[in-house]
């Protein structure tokens, strides 16, 4: 790995977005993922090599998150740094040099305005090479169905933070499976468990974004 790619990888894992970002405090006033990625591409580093290093960085921070070594703010910043890198790499996706692994239609279920879990999953999964169709929060079943219709072959991700909106999640899962029995559905959120996911008919429960990535990658392969 070149020194520049190594720096990008460190910035992603530590959530150093750009020069202006005050986080993490020990990297304050230093260049971040934004500046290093621009420089790397200008110096002829391949987008594939940058993406691979960033995926590894996200896997590292995701692993730390799963082990409670870092928490939501750190993961959020890592995902933001990753997104900055992805902005630089977008033209290469469009040109076909880098291929998307598939599409995840994602949203927080009806009645639930919490977006943190959904956004983290979105950013981490996007960083892993998936296209995310983010429907937002408080998403009614009909909106999920419409999005599935527009994205044949997609996977659906449902998020909920409130115990009180789990019922809506179950209704959405049932309706999607009724109309699209072959669509894979992954669910996540604080009040859920693998048992609850199974009971509502979802294909998988992910306790954290990294677990969601693993399921998605296994279904895509």
């Amino acid at each position: 790995m070149s020194e520049l790619i190594d720096k990008i990888s460190i910035c992603v894992e530590r959530g150093k977005v750009n020069l202006k970002a005050p986080f993490p405090p020990d990297l304050k006033e230093q260049p971040g993922a934004d500046e290093y990625t621009r420089e790397a591409l200008e110096k002829g580093e391949t987008p594939e090599a940058i993406l691979q290093a960033c995926n590894q960085a996200m896997e590292n921070i995701g692993g730390k998150f799963s082990r409670n070594e870092v928490f939501v703010p750190e993961l959020l910043m890592a995902a933001k740094a990753m997104n900055v890198v992805m902005e630089h790499l977008k033209p290469y996706f469009k040109s076909g040099n880098i291929k998307s692994k598939g599409v995840l239609v994602l949203g927080t279920v009806a009645g639930d305005l919490h977006d943190i879990g959904k956004n983290l999953v979105s950013m981490v999964i996007e960083g892993n090479g998936w296209k995310v169709e983010d429907l937002g929060s408080d998403v009614k079943t009909e909106k999920f169905l419409k999005a599935i219709e527009n994205c044949p072959g997609c996977i659906v991700g449902l998020s909920a933070l409130l115990t009180t909106t789990m019922g809506n999640m179950a209704k959405t899962v049932v309706e999607i499976k009724k109309q699209y029995p072959d669509i894979k559905i992954i669910v996540g959120g604080a009040p859920l468990s693998a048992r609850a996911a199974e009971e509502m008919g979802a294909d998988a429960y992910a306790a954290d974004p990294q677990e969601a990535v693993k399921y998605l990658n296994s279904w895509a392969s």
Partner: protein
């Protein structure tokens, strides 16, 4: 809560072991309306139905502590409404508040609300005032000033992703927001205490604490919670059913002496993390066991919880978090009986 229940609660917090062992539950809109057989909207809009539902719970389960007791609330809309948040009240779903801050720059313009006149708060207080005589007739008193915590309200006003990002990218703005919310909360708690002299407890609910690591919590959470709990009351109660291993050791410093966690941590672990200085209200799984299991399942899980604790001081047996929707009276009785017969 009756005088005896309040005295018992204080004894438990001081470390006394009661015989029989105590049980208690946080009850509010996710459980009460459906359990009582009314629409959620009716629960919020009818003072009579709200009072009847609360009184029935107390009468049906006189041997358990219902916390905070007669919680006058409008779900997640209560405090955000005072800041001008649009509130949605679907007929039989739980209400939710929409964000009012679109970017960190809006924080400068945010005014600290007056809880005596803004949003739904006058209704919250007036409902209690209208019901106070009947509450007293039933042998109970209003014991707690209740509010969502500052981080929780900040995440409602701004969106949790935006709020946490602001914490990391523009920490000064995040502090400004939390300071304004804390000032509002302090006056809201004071107003409740002035309105009901029987209040001798503060109950704050904040699960955004659980999203943070120690550096963020000590900077953006701890000082503000300390300020809010630094009032002269006997019971300082916190609910956080998200991750709590990071914040649990700070509970005594925050001033908290009663804590309702989620179910992803054992009561034994929490006793260790808090050096048994904080009473734990917990924590069989609320949904998978208390709501979804049969009576035998509830009994089995309750026995496991009891057996896991060699030291039963400073524990009020409960589920993790508040009472979830769909818990039957039979399951509550099975839980209480199992604890009391141990």
């Amino acid at each position: 809560m009756t005088d005896k229940q309040w005295t018992d609660l204080n004894k438990i917090i001081k470390g006394e072991i009661l015989d029989p062992l105590p049980t208690g539950f946080v009850i509010d809109c996710p459980w009460l309306p459906n359990w009582y057989g009314i629409k959620i909207l009716d629960y919020f809009s009818s003072d009579q139905l709200w009072l009847k539902a609360n009184l029935k719970a107390l009468n049906d389960f006189p041997d358990t502590l219902f916390l905070p007791g007669f919680w006058s609330e409008y779900g997640m809309c209560t405090e955000p409404s005072a800041f001008g948040a649009k509130c949605s009240f679907p007929e039989n779903e739980f209400p939710h508040a929409h964000r009012v801050i679109r970017s960190a720059d809006d924080i400068d313009e945010l005014e600290v609300p007056d809880p005596s006149i803004h949003g739904l708060l006058p209704m919250v207080l007036n409902r209690l005032k209208l019901a106070e005589a009947k509450i007293k007739d039933a042998g109970h008193q209003i014991r707690f000033a209740v509010a969502r915590g500052p981080l929780n309200i900040a995440s409602y006003l701004m969106g949790s992703t935006e709020f946490l990002t602001t914490m990391m990218m523009q920490p000064d703005k995040a502090h400004e927001l939390i300071k304004k919310i804390t000032a509002f909360l302090s006056s809201w708690i004071d107003l409740q205490m002035q309105s009901f002299p029987s209040i001798d407890g503060i109950f704050l609910l904040d699960d955004i604490i659980g999203f943070m690591g120690a550096p963020e919590f000590t900077e953006f959470g701890l000082p503000y919670f300390k300020e809010l709990y630094d009032k002269k009351v006997s019971v300082k109660f916190l609910h956080n059913d998200a991750h709590c291993k990071v914040s649990a050791p700070f509970l005594p410093e925050m001033g908290v002496n009663l804590f309702n966690p989620g179910f992803d941590i054992t009561v034994k672990e929490l006793k260790e993390l808090t050096e048994n200085k904080v009473t734990i209200l917990g924590n069989i799984p609320p949904r998978d066991v208390l709501a979804a299991a049969n009576e035998e399942g509830v009994k089995a899980e309750t026995k496991k919880l009891l057996a896991s604790l060699s030291d039963k001081s400073r524990v009020i047996f409960s589920c993790g978090g508040g009472m979830p929707p769909g818990v039957s009276s039979e399951n509550i009785k099975a839980f209480i009986n199992t604890v009391q017969k141990s």
